[in-house]
């Protein structure tokens, strides 16, 4: 050891910044079909290699190959394609609506549609989702009406959340979609509790949760993995590694040191790492994990390796921190394009049909948008009754809230009164 050696502080930095050309040649990408498909009863240790690999099904000739390729009906795949396309069309419309001042904020999931949509297709009705903010595809794939989602984004008179939540923080008990929190990671450990409750009741439904690469550094990620492992909770835990947490690349959350999937091994949670832009791979991995959970074999951690093609949100400008061409250079392509090409390759779809569906979905979204706007927008109203902001703080409105509602002049038939305490 050099006695004159002084310590050096390491601050991770992405390989390329704006003004430079993006380059993903350092990524080791296994070929489609190359990675084995173990039995669902495998332990985390026995399949530890899968946490460092990348499960891929769609090859460069758009064929579904290898042990993870499953015989799936074209009609089923077309439903998945449609849900991804509708998600993208919806995102585009709502992004523009924000730019037009109709709401305060919006977040697209462009490039990540396969993660939510293929997963929703892999779970069963009654399975419970604990999403984060970029899984709108879960709702759309479960045929939840986009009109209801738009009303939430506009905080309008038909918003079931009564104008209380920022745009995209959806909640739908009926769709099995848990209320989204802005405090990242909290849902990850809650999903374990839901799954344990389902097991306690000897139910058949399982839970699934999503977290971003950045938020894996939150304590809830650790709580979830520990508790899911300890209690063999029937839960599928997903890390959506879209490379960016606002302006911080995935290495800032430790992704340069080891894969996010590999985090599972130390907890004894079997882990898979999947090409998140490959609908068939995401679907197959999720089915594998769901089957494990449903068979009392416990939790699975899945890292979905994908790319956030758009800005973090309408408040973000990725041109300030990543190369302009990075999105175009992403080596795993676009999930919609890849599934479309596969369907064309197997003779179940055509370019003309695809173009027609794009036009149809655009029209659906436009027409639904008009109906949503007729129910109100954040800038022009009508909004929910402001008196409702005092409701649901508690099951029964507490006396001090009744007094404050009166003080705010919002009591039905009341008049504003001078300030008064609790």
């Amino acid at each position: 050891m050099d006695r004159d050696q002084v310590l050096q502080l390491h601050i991770p930095e992405p390989k390329h910044r704006p003004g430079e050309l993006a380059d993903f040649s350092h990524l080791r990408l296994p070929l489609a079909g190359e990675i084995r498909r173990p039995p669902i009863a495998a332990s985390a240790y026995e399949i530890r290699d899968l946490a460092y690999e990348l499960i891929r099904v769609l090859d460069d000739e758009d064929r579904a190959v290898g042990p993870w390729a499953q015989p799936l009906e074209p009609a089923f795949l077309l439903r998945g394609l449609r849900a991804m396309m509708l998600t993208r069309a919806y995102d585009e419309r709502m992004f523009r609506a924000q730019r037009q001042g109709k709401t305060s904020f919006y977040m697209k999931c462009t490039g990540e549609e396969a993660v939510a949509v293929a997963q929703a297709c892999a779970f069963e009705c009654g399975d419970m989702f604990f999403p984060t903010y970029r899984q709108q595809g879960l709702l759309i794939a479960r045929d939840w009406p986009i009109l209801d989602m738009m009303c939430q984004v506009y905080s309008n008179s038909a918003d079931r959340l009564k104008g209380r939540q920022m745009p995209v923080f959806y909640s739908s008990r009926e769709a099995g979609f848990f209320s989204i929190s802005g405090n990242l990671g909290t849902q990850f450990s809650q999903a374990v509790g839901w799954a344990m409750a389902s097991a306690y009741r000897h139910d058949r439904h399982i839970a699934s949760a999503w977290i971003g690469d950045g938020a894996t550094a939150e304590p809830d990620f650790h709580y979830a993995l520990t508790l899911a492992a300890v209690y063999h909770a029937p839960v599928v835990l997903n890390v959506v590694n879209n490379q960016w947490a606002i302006s911080c690349y995935q290495g800032m959350a430790g992704g340069d040191e080891s894969t996010f999937a590999s985090r599972g091994i130390g907890y004894g949670v079997p882990a898979l790492r999947v090409d998140g832009n490959d609908f068939l791979a995401v679907y197959a991995a999720t089915r594998w994990a769901a089957e494990r959970a449903r068979s009392n074999l416990g939790p699975t951690l899945i890292e979905h390796f994908t790319y956030r093609a758009a800005a973090h949100s309408t408040s973000d400008d990725p041109g300030r921190y990543r190369p302009q061409d990075e999105s175009a250079k992403w080596p795993l392509g676009d999930p919609i394009e890849r599934l479309k090409r596969h369907l064309v390759a197997i003779g179940a779809w055509s370019d003309a049909q695809h173009a027609a569906l794009v036009a149809e979905l655009d029209e659906t979204v436009r027409e639904t948008g008009r109906r949503a706007e007729a129910l109100g927008t954040l800038n022009a109203g009508p909004l929910p009754d402001p008196a409702s902001m005092f409701e649901d703080v508690y099951k029964e409105m507490q006396p001090h809230l009744k007094r404050q509602r009166r003080e705010a002049g919002l009591e039905p038939g009341g008049t504003p009164r001078p300030a008064e305490g609790a």
């Binding site: 909640s171 008990r173 848990f178 209320s179 909290t186 809650q190 509790g193 703080v393 305490g421 609790a422």
Partner: protein
Amino acid sequence: MAAMNMVQALNSAMDVMLGRDPDVLIFGEDVGYFGGVFRVTDGLQKKYGRERVFDTPITEGGIVALAVGMGAYGLRPIVEIQFADYIYPAMDQLISEAARLRYRSGAEWFAPMTVRAPCGGGIFGGQTHSQSPEALFTHVSGLKTVIPSNPYDAKGLLISAIEDDDPVVFLEPKRLYNGPFGGRPDQPAKSWAGHPDAEVPLEHYRVPLGKANIVRAGQAATVLAYGTMVHVALAAVAECGIDAEVIDLRTLSPVDVETIAASVDKTGRCVIVHEATRFSGYGGELCALVQEHCFYRLEAPIERVAGWDTPYPHAFEWQYFPGPDRVVQALRRVVEA
């Protein structure tokens, strides 16, 4: 009816609820096989099974997160945080999640959980086993905060908390587990034996949340207290002979403003006593409420007796603890003003 100390009364409340409602579960650190470090869940795992009363790893944030998820499923979990001082890792789950779930989901989901935690000093626990963090919870819209002062209330309030569909932080003054404590550590410790509030029905009953209890009627001044300080206040009143009315708040949120205001309107003088630190403490809110409701009836400035604004010092516990001498001084100041 049976004579019970506070530990037994709390245990009885959970026993009754486990027996009545299959959706009730208990979990936390050391609560299962061992029965809890303060023995509050003693015997419950044996009686109801591991699936209903179980141990967790040391993960306060994880414990509350599990309870949120279980509540979303439809269960009614009771969790124990081993010491209130350990609750801080769970604050995100308590504040951002449990307390806000009903509101943010348009009442689609809620968190019908009870979070039990021993609080307060008097056992030489130092700064990490003595704190009274109630004001952190009363500041949070969507949470309810309860602190009992005797076995009868402890059982009835805990049953109300468990049955409540809102999340309840249930703080248990650990110095009162085995007996009432008037704040004089040099005197022999008392047990609950023979105390009227230690006669506890074996069956189900409720003490409603949001209702204070006048534990001593009086005319000369009002003392607002809760938890251990109820007994300190009673001891102080007995020692100084001032005919004070002592109110045990029992529930800090929602607070029983009517009972407080009626008393201060009558006495015109008010002393607020809590063990928690003073600055930005719950006493500040009580002080504001009293002046808002009773300003024109007040005959003297409101007094606050509280823990000093320092961490809880191990060796100087009794210089820190707001004992009866300080309460007596405050009572004298309000009646002599």
